[in-house]
Symmetry: C3
């Protein structure tokens, strides 16, 4: 930092995120003390398994912390910053800012994150991972860049060292069925197979609207030797890849569909839809039917192999065609919309809803469904469990809304604990810390209002931190 | 309770459900002191009038408290407990658990209700009705069963004694137009006619999708001597039964439609729909029109006979066809969905919306309509009043959400006070106590933030406890 | 006030609307001290420019404060008061209550506003503008009427004097393109052109369902000399009027569409829709397309002339045809409904969404879109800014819900500060005071929970009070 600048202190208050009322705060502190040192269980996320397999130093501050984090880049974009200026490479290979310049641009806009979860995560990461004691801003941009760059060059900041330092018990990555899982094989060789596990995410070969779907399905056939032009061969190929994933520690599948639609069609219709998908002739309703049918097939396979099915519907992805065309997917232009569960899940629930051995974890980007649909569904059907607040709602207020909306109908036992769901590896401790603090704050409020006994609150705090996730994901 | 077990104390804290902040809590306490001893006004519920007519002892703890309470059975079902193991008899008469065994199963899962309204109601009932001072759990299951069974055998726990002890001023039950109202006649003979009144719930003869609709309508014709094959005869039959109900104290009708749709069709179309319903040939839209038309006819009759019309839309009932087939209705598989009021009520409101003598009480299972649709509607149309938070939302958080979403647009005067809406007779004091506490907590918050004077808050606390309900239901 | 009555004291507590918890309250007080004396920036509202142009005394208490305020009249109407009894003149010229009688009716129902924003605004106006120290009620009706009438007759209560006294920096009125803007010309003559500015609200010539649309469009042609029967001439006419408005200080346009639908059609289809609108032959979908197309044309013009585009969708206006027929528009029978933004705005955003120089301010009457759609949209697209809580949600709870739902995804920088949006001139200080208090209370909560530094909170409090509005509206 240059001398004479006005950088303000960065200190993480030990009571942060706890309600101000002293009685509640005191109870929250006690509960938090029971969970602060528990290991991190991360059953759903998007870190790169290559990091842990190869254990090479991270490249530079910007490439690690800014450019790939669409939570950050979209916010600056909303205030007129070009994505290129944050290092986001256009598909045509056009020029982007140098890492240090991009970092300065980021630092100049750090104030945009006041009051946001990204702001909390960044401060926690900067303070606890890198030891900064001044806030990021234009005047501290280089101080930060140099400090982080120096740290990243040291052995203590290589991926496995950080993994150990973060106290991670298990971390799930997410791979396509077309992935050869070589990184996970390498991890197994090194005895890390129980620590970094994979998750089966078949969207690229399931969603006819996915970029490259036809070639993807063909490649699936090549990888498995199955005749993926036939419905039963296509299912066999998926089944075979599930087994491959399961052998690399996967306990779950994940499905990022636009809606929660499910279907239970006869085989002839399934074949017709598969043919249409490969020919590129499906209309939107047919695509929806095909995705919904595969989801039901996945549930059937889960009954056989025990994998937990995660459903993440409701994002209108790639809302801006220009951004998609110029930069590709996952650049922040994904906008939630209203999502139906009650009618959409009916075909699946009619067929498997009463199976006690099936586990389906439901997520949503439509909070109006928490109390209206999701809690009543999970509070009745044995197979359903509610995932934690997701994406935009992985936030302090989002977690409060989730607990308040869901608990009274579904209780705690029908929820799945916390997911960090992130590609931002260094933010994982911050994210779990926020979740633990908010859960303790919520439980403390119930205790202070005599809606829960202190003993129950302690047990539930531990459950929310680790127990529910371990049970929900069969870890 | 067996010696040496780990049962924890059950004590109801006098400040429960009040905010922890000392100033607010102190105001809430003062407000609550004004309402705690007021009588219970219960204008909408589902207790069995036979209980009060015959005044026989209740059978056993399980049959009274667990098996018929789908709030409880659905929660255990969601965690893999079979309904039969809770005493729920399949339609085919298959075997169910003995009451004591079912009670033990229930007790073993009592922890599922932590943080739920059922948990609050059960604790209140156990402590205040039966005097238990340890919590229900696996180790106290028999202690509870034996204690409750012994109590139920005593005169002080017969229905009328409990009714007196609970301080109930008036209790409305709900009957079908096909009910002979013999229990209410018996109650009248005993001078209880003003204390236990009936409510006219015509769904079985109004909803073409109701189980047995055709036979039900025929039976309606037989009971009334009206030609129910003709639209005017069918309406006459309903009118006649309303008069019969009115003679047994009914001040209200109740309508459990899937949606809030209303219709204002010409007589020829009405006749066509009635014919179709009796022939079983209506499509879903036509069924909707028929139900909506009858609702408007009910409003017209209300203008004549003064009965209050209650509309309870929005439940997708019998979501699980397997549960419906095996166990019948009302087994917890009823899931809310989005519910429109603005367009749906237009035909009714166009015709009668400005009538000052009509009273329609609207309920919802879609909380997103509270502030968006219901409060603006009730804040304009003289005939509309908002019912309290219903079913899943008859809860601490649900009541807070209701008051916060509705009051600023509709005020208090356009709301109808509390309904317990329960078949669980012993929980009635608990439910009213929760409502009074939350209302006092809400009002105390307004006082503490200088948004309401203390005198106004006192008056409104009494209104919320009894005054609004008496006025809304014309008691 | 008559001697011996029971009027209660009216005093505005200095801590009103601040949370009761002492730490939070103390922080809120400090923040509020920084903003309480800032000028009022009112970039969107509906006061009558004639008041400020002519600066004549207001007529009488009822005509000023009650009759034109549909927030008040609808609430009394909901409790059975006839609009005529509040001075609302029927279109047929039928009789209405005398001002003093209407005032008494209003006073007799003042209790209906307990817990509502109108109650807060009225008390603030009565206490600070008129100096009352007893509450309005039946027993103080004449005391109030006489006191207000006397005040209004004095020079200190003429519009410009009040404008100065209120500390208004700039006030935007809203006019139709058919307005000759004579009042604003008069204001310019008097050097008030920067203080009272206009806003271009083209609904009467854009919405084919608007009363008198065909004649309105013809008049637009007459005023501009453009051939409004041709699509390009029609656009030229709008462009010309925008320039006229801009010359009278307008920095914004405003659009009160039933939905947020936008369209990007070819010129031939635009001409066809315009022809159909003028012929009265459009079906509802076509009317929607036409409105949506004009909205996109307005955005294109905004790129040229720099005017900010405000979109206020979601009201089902004139819900009661009888009220519309008898009294006309804006009588309280406007009911919100679900409103889609994600798909509706796509044509507009596809075309202009990435333009950094375009500013679109989005409002909503569907709070379920705050976190689900609006914050993610504004948190990505550079052109989008979120307007403050509107209409029914311009309230204490409404503002809390907005901040909690929006901030974590969109931050503060993507919001537009406060609008009073009122025709009730005397309530303007009250409305801004409520907004400043709630924003300070919200920020104080973040500070107390260590989610925001005190320095940032101070800066943001000032931004929320004046800075964001000035920037969003380019004032």
């Amino acid at each position: 930092m240059s001398p004479g600048t006005t950088a303000t202190a960065l200190d993480l208050h030990p009571d942060r995120l706890f309600p101000a009322e002293p009685t509640v705060r005191s109870i929250a502190r006690e509960l938090y003390a029971e969970v602060v040192d528990l290991p991190i269980v991360s059953p759903h996320g998007h870190t790169d398994p290559a990091w842990f397999a190869e254990d090479r130093p991270f490249a530079d501050p910007t490439t690690l912390l800014v450019t790939p984090d669409h939570y950050l880049t979209r916010m600056l974009h909303s205030q007129g910053v070009r994505l290129e200026d944050l290092g986001v490479r256009p598909r045509d290979g056009g020029p982007v800012a140098e890492p240090r310049d991009a970092w300065r641009t980021f630092a100049a806009h750090a104030r945009l994150f006041r009051g946001t979860p990204s702001g909390l995560w960044l401060d926690h990461t900067f303070a606890t991972v890198f030891g900064f004691d001044v806030r990021l801003g234009p005047e501290t941009a280089d101080h930060y860049y140099d400090g982080i760059a120096a740290a990243l060059a040291s052995d203590g900041f290589r991926p496995r060292a950080l993994f150990e330092r973060f106290g991670i018990e298990v971390l799930a990555t997410t791979e396509s069925p077309l992935d050869d899982l070589a990184h996970h094989d390498r991890l197994a060789t090194d005895g890390w197979n129980d620590r970094v596990i994979t998750t089966f995410r078949p969207d690229p070969v399931v969603d006819p609207d996915f970029d490259g779907y036809v070639a993807n399905v063909e490649r699936l056939g090549d990888m498995t030797g199955c005749d993926v032009t036939r419905w039963d061969g296509y299912l066999d190929a998926l089944r075979q890849r599930r087994a491959d994933f399961r052998a690399r520690g996967a306990t779950a599948t994940d499905h990022g569909h636009p809606s929660a639609a499910t279907a239970d069609l006869d085989v002839r219709e399934c074949q017709r839809l598969l043919d249409g998908a490969r020919a590129g002739t499906l209309d939107p309703d047919e695509s929806e039917h095909l995705r919904g049918q595969v989801l039901v097939e996945m549930a059937a396979m889960s009954l056989d192999d025990g994998m937990v099915l995660q459903l993440h519907p409701g994002s209108r992805r790639n809302h801006s065609p220009r951004i998609l065309e110029r930069f590709g997917r996952d650049k922040g232009a994904d906008i939630p919309g209203p999502t139906d569960y009650v009618d959409a899940l009916r075909p699946l629930l009619d067929r498997f809803g009463l199976e006690p051995d099936l586990r389906i974890i439901l997520f949503t980007l439509d909070e109006s469904t928490y109390a209206r649909e999701l809690a009543p569904l999970a509070g009745f059907y044995p197979c359903l469990t509610l995932g934690p607040p997701w994406w935009f709602f992985d936030s302090v207020e989002g977690m409060w809304r989730f607990r308040r909306a869901v608990t009274e109908t579904a209780g705690f036992a029908n929820t799945a604990g916390f997911n960090d769901d992130t590609r931002a590896f260094l933010s994982i401790p911050a994210r779990h810390d926020v979740a633990r603090r908010v859960d303790c704050a919520y439980l403390a409020t119930l205790v202070a209002e005599h809606r829960l006994t202190p003993d129950d609150a302690t047990e539930l705090a531990v459950d929310c931190a680790v127990g529910l996730a371990r049970r929900a994901y069969r870890l």
